[in-house]
């Protein structure tokens, strides 16, 4: 029997705090998954043993501490699943399946992380793992309500650049608006991005023009999370397709069919 690489754990909820009006940070005790997690990978979580809501929810791993055996998740409340998650109490348990998928290649020495909104969650884990290597982050949010991200990245990032849609903090606009200036000044060897698809497409195009390779973290609706149901298929540049849950969620930008 080959060694197991994925686990289901009944993880003890150690904390579950609001970071803004609709974003929460949960830390759970999940030693097996925390031990094996790599930045860019995700977990599928289930909140109760009830049959409704039925399916697991995919969430990026926003941090993992193999020593303490803890896993951090940062999530935005969207619908029933994440509402239940926000209501979960410390001391209760969370059914976690993972670590799943293929994470980021962190071999380039100077990385720029470009995240839109909740897409910053997996990039936080990247920053933590890379520390003390120099890493910069470009964080795009809607309003200054999302200031908490700068706090979260403070310990692990050399410099933090911020944009907001309404200009209430940092540069007014999206990550893609602020990126050209950064690319012109920085000496980045790789760009890692996660966020809305149009943003990632723009980021990858701008980085490519500057001669830098980009890795993107894709999102699709998922049922199984392990490559068994084929719900999460995305088009590939070679004319074929990939499963976001198993072949991704992280892909080289040039692997993806952006049309």
């Amino acid at each position: 029997m080959e060694q197991k690489s994925k686990f289901v754990e009944q993880a003890l909820i150690l904390s579950n705090q609001a970071l803004s009006s609709d974003v929460y940070r949960m830390v759970v005790q999940s030693p097996q998954i925390a031990h094996d997690s790599l930045p860019g990978q995700f977990v599928m979580i289930r909140l109760s043993d009830k049959l409704d809501p039925l399916l697991r929810r995919p969430l990026s791993i926003a941090g993992a501490d193999p020593q303490k055996g803890t896993l951090t998740l940062i999530y935005r409340v969207i619908g029933r699943g994440t509402q239940q998650m926000a209501a979960a109490q410390t001391g209760a348990s969370l059914d976690v399946m993972g670590p799943l998928g293929r994470g980021f290649d962190l071999s380039a020495s100077r990385l720029l992380l470009v995240g839109g909104g909740i897409g910053l969650a997996p990039l936080l884990f990247v920053a933590e793992r890379c520390c003390p290597r120099p890493v910069e982050v470009l964080a795009g949010g809607r309003t200054k309500d999302e200031l908490f991200w700068t706090e979260l990245f403070r310990d692990s990032c050399q410099s933090i650049h911020v944009t907001t849609d309404d200009g209430s903090l940092g540069v007014c606009g999206t990550c893609a608006d602020a990126l050209p200036a950064l690319l012109a000044n920085g000496r980045y060897e790789g760009v890692l991005t996660c966020g809305p698809r149009p943003m990632m497409k723009q980021v990858a195009a701008l980085a490519k023009a500057a001669g830098i390779r980009t890795q993107v973290s894709m999102e699709e609706h998922m049922a199984c999370g392990v490559g068994a149901c084929l719900a999460c298929t995305c088009g590939a540049a070679d004319g074929g397709s990939r499963q976001v849950c198993k072949d991704g969620p992280v892909f080289w930008a040039e692997e993806v069919d952006w049309s």
Binding site: K4, S5, K6, F7, V8, R46, L51, D52, P53, L54, L55, R56, M97, H221, M222, A223, C224, G225, V226, G227, A228, C229, L230, A231, C232, T233, S241, K246
Partner: protein, 305 residues
């Protein structure tokens, strides 16, 4: 110990009556970190076609109350890639592999039956009930004559046991079951998914890329159970029951209704070790009921009296 769970289906020996349902278990490898191989009776692989198929565009999955809709559209690499690259790998599992075959026209089914005949797979499951393709497939399964014709065409090309997978999207499932039995089917399996729909009230658009999709999961269980019961009474060949089975007690219901084996689909997504948990629950149930074998349950629902 599995002695009490052993069963036999159209000549195939199963270590347990628990089969992984087509399209929910990939090619069998994806869940091996979670399921004990000894608990798996057989694996039915994802629906196979003659040529590779990309599947449907747009969103392919939507969660619904206690269920889900899917419109995958039979994404698969085609039978040649299956035979060359995939089958040699999964044959090593020592679990009977059943191939779910699909076509646009009757000749496609016959072609696949012939191509797979000597490949070493345990059986064929003829899918005449996929709701997610534009041509063929479900169209064959809703009319007794075409269902029988496809069955006969497959039987003519293979010595493998032939299981015909029936659609619940019919008025009288027993009539279709009898037609495929008369055409030589060695077993029937049911139910495939029920055609359903979901609409986004913000955009006023269908949630699924294909507009409609197949409903599965606990929501369909009562309908599935009723259809398995009706079918088991109407035919002599074995019935494989499925539709929403999530627990050992669900599986027992299907056995009592007349299923000789059961398949587990959507439950694998919810609980990746569902099949192992159900096997454990069945062993405990046999013990509690002081039964020696699962076969003592098959068709034993007490009606009247």
């Amino acid at each position: 110990m599995n002695a009490g769970l052993q069963t036999e289906l159209a000549g195939i020996k199963l270590r347990t009556p628990l089969i992984a349902a087509s399209g929910t278990f990939g090619f069998g490898e994806e869940y091996l970190d979670f399921v004990e191989q000894a608990d798996l009776g057989a694996i039915v692989v994802k629906g196979m076609t003659r040529e590779p198929r990309p599947g449907n565009a747009g969103r392919r999955m939507a969660e619904t109350p206690a269920g889900m809709l899917n419109c995958i559209g039979l994404q698969n690499p085609g039978v040649d890639v299956f035979l060359q690259d995939i089958l040699p790998r999964i044959k090593r599992l020592e679990i009977p592999i059943i191939v779910n075959i699909n076509g646009n026209v009757q000749e496609d089914y016959a072609y696949l039956a012939e191509a797979l005949d000597a490949s070493g797979v345990a059986a064929l499951e003829v899918n005449i009930s996929c709701p997610n393709t534009r041509h063929g497939c479900m169209a064959f399964g809703v009319v007794p004559e075409t269902a029988a014709a496809v069955t006969a065409a497959v039987k003519a090309k293979t010595k493998l046991p032939v299981i015909v997978k029936l659609s619940p999207n019919v008025t009288d499932v027993a009539e279709i079951a009898q037609a495929v039995e008369a055409a030589g089917a060695d077993a029937v399996s049911l139910i495939n998914t029920l055609v359903g729909m979901a609409i986004d009230t913000h955009t006023w658009k269908p949630v699924l890329g294909n507009i409609v999709g197949g409903l599965s999961g606990p929501a369909v269980k009562p309908v599935a159970l009723r259809m398995v019961w009706q079918t088991a009474q109407a035919v002599k060949i074995p019935v494989i029951g499925m539709g929403g089975i999530s627990s050992a007690s669900d599986a027992v219901e299907f056995l009592l209704a007349g299923a000789k084996a059961v398949a587990i689909g959507t439950a694998n997504f919810v609980n990746p070790q569902a099949i192992t948990d159900i096997a454990t629950g069945l062993r405990r149930y046999l013990e509690q009921q002081q039964l020696q074998s699962i076969s003592q349950l098959v068709g034993k629902v007490r009606i009247g009296g």
